[in-house]
Subunit: 469 residues, 3 copies
């Protein structure tokens, strides 16, 4: 099992230590507390009459942040444990690349979103944004799951975070695109970036590991932990960085109903299309979440509750159909080996979400927002543009995102092909034991009671053998 090329004894430590030391140096020179986390600045008007600690951003956003945090580390981590022999890597590599990416994202987003006196200022809002960027990397991880070394993943994370921040800055910073829940910036970007990377890393002989590219009973239950946490906290995800008050509240509500409708249509389509009328866990684990993705752009808008439900309903249908009919085609014809089916959960629903954002922006009149318009469309409120122009911006943003994601994935895919990064061989994919010390499957039984039991079952097992022979 020892293989010098996949051996991580030096590659992984060197990569990790160098990256972390660079991060610490850059943080030391460039990062400082923002107004709400700095003791002197936040308390500078303590003797004034307006000082209320409850107005610290912490109390508006920290519960949402923690929900997002759970989605990133438990949600994505356990969602990918469905593979029978890749649970350690799914949770463990998710953990490693997320811990790295959130630090790197703090810097990249800080540089691009505007320095304050030459410094990146951080607080709960930057923590949420760093987690969001990390989420995008983890979506791409889902596409290449089981076929990459941890060093490859760290390198991918480094480049993807950078490109994510560039794309996000073009959309949110320059164009004034609205995308609070990241249908475009997070889901579409992460999915198509990852799909292009996995296309470049195409393995014609992956069938040699095919028997391990599936679930067992308990691995599917572990994956459901991930699914359910993602599902429950998606309202927090989409509302985490929207404006205070009604905007956060409405976004959470819209996402809640979108997800509920999506779950019902997912079950319908799964039973309709799956073998023998039986439900398929792959659909439930993934497609039921598409309603959250698809509400990522329009969730903060006056989408109406039934509008949200229509969006979720469609997202579930599209996603199941994608798993059933499109994924096999992508693999056979386009050579895209998408382990987790991120195209069906993040790709298509992300595009749907972007389109819903365009339509909602174009269709809902500004009177509907009243004085609250500034929270959703500040440029429109300031008369810098009208809602139809904003809708055009939203549409252009989708195209830009797809372009940067695909081009970025192309380049990064070729970088990851360098043999030095220690990718597993075709026969060793979807297998923890290349990178982890793996214990056995079964507990050792040797106390008296269980020995007796085992002997009985042996008797039973082998004494039936002659009858069969």
């Amino acid at each position: 099992m020892t293989d010098s090329s996949t051996n991580m004894r030096l590659k992984l430590p060197i990569t990790c230590l160098i990256l972390e030391i660079i991060l610490i140096i850059l943080f030391g020179t460039l990062v400082e507390y923002d107004y709400d986390t700095d003791a002197a600045r936040f308390n500078s008007d303590r003797n004034g009459s307006q000082h209320d600690p409850m107005q610290n951003e912490f109390y508006y956003r920290y519960p949402s942040f923690q929900d997002v945090h759970v989605m990133i580390f438990i949600g994505f981590g356990f969602l990918m444990t469905f593979l029978q022999r890749y649970g350690f890597s799914s949770v463990g590599f998710n953990f490693l690349i997320a811990a790295f990416a959130l630090q790197w994202a703090t810097l990249m987003q800080g540089f691009l979103h505007g320095l304050h006196h030459g410094k990146v200022e951080i607080g709960v809002l930057s923590m949420i944004n760093a987690d969001f960027c990390t989420g995008s990397v983890l979506i791409s991880f889902g596409a290449v799951l089981g076929k990459t070394s941890p060093v490859q993943l760290l390198v991918m994370a480094m480049f993807e975070v950078t490109l994510f921040a560039v794309n996000e800055h073009i959309l949110v910073g320059i164009l004034g695109t609205r995308d609070a829940g990241g249908s475009m910036t997070i889901h579409t970007f992460g999915a198509y970036f990852g799909l292009m990377v996995t296309r470049i890393l195409y393995r014609p002989n992956l069938h040699k590991s095919k028997h391990k590219n599936s679930s067992v009973y308990h691995s599917d239950l572990f994956a459901m932990i991930g699914t359910i946490y993602l599902w429950m906290f998606w309202p927090s995800f989409n509302s985490a960085i929207t404006e205070h008050g009604d905007a956060q509240h409405r976004t959470a509500l819209n996402t809640y109903y979108s997800l509920a409708a999506c779950t019902v249509s997912t079950y319908a389509l799964s039973a309709l299309t799956a073998h023998d009328g039986k439900l398929d866990m792959v659909h439930i684990q993934n497609a039921a979440l598409a309603g959250g993705v698809a509400a990522g752009t329009a969730g903060e808008m006056m989408l109406t509750p039934y509008g949200s439900m229509i969006v979720g309903f469609l997202a579930g249908i599209i996603s199941v159909l994608g798993f059933k009919y499109l994924s096999p085609i992508l693999e056979e014809k386009l050579k895209i080996q998408d382990t987790c089916g991120v195209h069906n959960l993040h790709g298509m629903p992300g595009i749907l979400g972007a389109i819903v954002g365009v339509v909602t922006t174009a269709v809902v009149s500004r009177n509907v927002y009243g004085e609250g318009l500034i929270n959703v469309y500040p440029e429109v409120e300031r008369e810098e543009r009208d809602l139809h122009f904003q809708a055009g911006i939203q549409a252009a943003s989708l195209a830009i995102t797809l372009g940067i994601a695909l081009l970025g994935g192309l380049i990064v895919g070729f970088i990851l092909k360098l043999p030095v990064f220690g990718a597993p061989r075709d026969t060793e994919c979807f297998e923890d034991s290349i990178y982890w010390e793996v214990p056995g499957e079964e507990p050792s039984h040797d106390n008296q009671l269980t020995v007796v039991k085992t002997e009985e079952s042996e008797k039973l097992s082998c004494s039936t053998h002659p009858r069969e022979d």
Copy 2:
């Protein structure tokens, strides 16, 4: 394994799609954002001096909502995974019927609790109430677990949500009953409704599936995830819809101590009554939660911390004794096959909670509440009734709840007997593979290392055979 009656290829999709389309139409015609989720209304006084976004209901209730949400989807879902071969259905059907029920509950509760200009207004408070109603359906699901098809469950959910809303409206809307944590409206109602349904669906030959109606080692650990989440977040459940300020705070605190005391008495009684002095996982998974149920009515009252502990202490004792001595009697004599023992976790502790509410209301003087009386007993504060009358109302509410639950369960039980709904046969209960595509139990081993290991264990296993023969 294919059986036309249980085959869900058409039944489940048709049911799901029709229900969801009806929901979308009704939401489109009847539901709108409330004051705190509507951009125009919440910001209408934005230029006034009093506008503080922190006063949006979102910040008072959203963290509690998310905790309740976790209880509904992870708590109930995983609590029921204790069955060895029913984990997919436990989590998966829980997911489906909850996603449907919360939408239907939004409508039913909205109709009955008062329309605003002919519209149902929704926000975080209605989301919590919808989750509460869903919780009641999931309690009933626990009674029939393993013996029903997903279509039966959806039909049950539709009727139960409606009856729940009727009962809740009679109690809270008309009578002015206090029941913030739902000892009566949620737990007693859900338990006795479900018990009556399972009584009507009595299967004399259920023993044919008996070997699957039990746990294995890892399924019990998955179930503990559900238990612990329910236990931890019960303080949020009971306090989620109480009044702002001290009422929410006190309810959480009372529930915390009730649960702690309940856990200690559960362990005591489990060791005392279980076989050979050993602890029984069924007791720990369930009875330790009874303290939360029993604090559902009086939790917001000035129950005192030690009062809460006495309530929890008694609830744990009653619940373990119920599992040990009462459940077998209910099954044998009354033909009530209660898979999860909801009578012991929700039924009896719910009644206990209702009684504690009566006593606390009658015993604690209004002086104890001071100016805070209006938050707990608004009718008493407005001099419309005195505390003894309120106590009488509380007692009558328990009787009404039991009546509606039992009568409703009777009728719905007979509806569910229609063969068209695809119930499993007696030999196929507690078995995922009727409704799900189920993978194997064990990972496939065929990389070199593990093959060697397997050969060794074969040698070991079979070479001991001759010695035994």
Copy 3:
């Protein structure tokens, strides 16, 4: 398997019931609601102009409390399920002793931290402090895991909670030590107390249970649930009782970056030191958390983000090296059998955290805090001492904590040796079946489909046997 000494039929119920009844009596005579949970007091100025329910402590702290609660019950509980046959006990005993300890801690901390008119006043702050104290007991539980009966654990919890409250009162109450996240009071105390207890309970023949003192594949995945929850919510843990506003915010942020850096250095060191360059789950499950422990004292200080990252980076390195090189030495030379390696996760990183607190206090000037100084160093702000004196106090506090922990552990260890408490025999350690009714490992298969499958595998299994013989 029946053994009168370890049989819990009477020992456990009697212990539990007596303790709980004592608790209820003491709560009844000594405990009352605090200002924010009492209906009359909190609403006493309801008609005044300043009354804002959002100023109730509940809204500042309850989300943090729930995160801490998850760490105590899910985090610690599942972290210890890594043992192959001790999952029931890990989660279950964690549940029992935590439920007891948080009640007892409420009393002990209340007595020592100051009675109000002879009463212990409770609210969300006391609930968090009770959970913190419970955390310390659970750390000690990690040291003795698998080698103690539940009665021993309850006795240990009773004494440890008391000593914890004494130590905490000396530090925080008398000396004015800053230790919001408990590097000293919680982690150092819990670890060295537990290490001394396990030293006194040394079992020379523990190797007889050695084969069960290890993990299997799925038990390691359950443990990762614990790890990830502890990791995610540690920012809430360290910030839960810091001052409102910037202090809570900054502490959460510092902890977030400390943990991220720690995770990266943990992976680096694990690959560098583990067998064959492969990652070791023990390191990932534990050492990646050391960054939270080490930020427990200085987290609320102006540690700076990069300072936090350096602390986490070092903590991860120290912790992995401890698991790899120090733990075997402690076991062989000092006879300290530390099941979970709490010395590496809580002991050394706790000391590191205390030292970081000393250095940060001494080095960062008071100008950096401005008007916010009072939130972090109230005695310094009131000119009662300067920052160098405060640094000295911090250093002395570490020594005091170590002294009380080691002496307390020594005494309690000898108490726990009394045979009446029912410790398991050396051959029965790390085994659930002594104290729990344990179901089988494998589901029973006897529906048609699976029987066929089983027969095939029997054929396969046994027909290879002749070829091997």
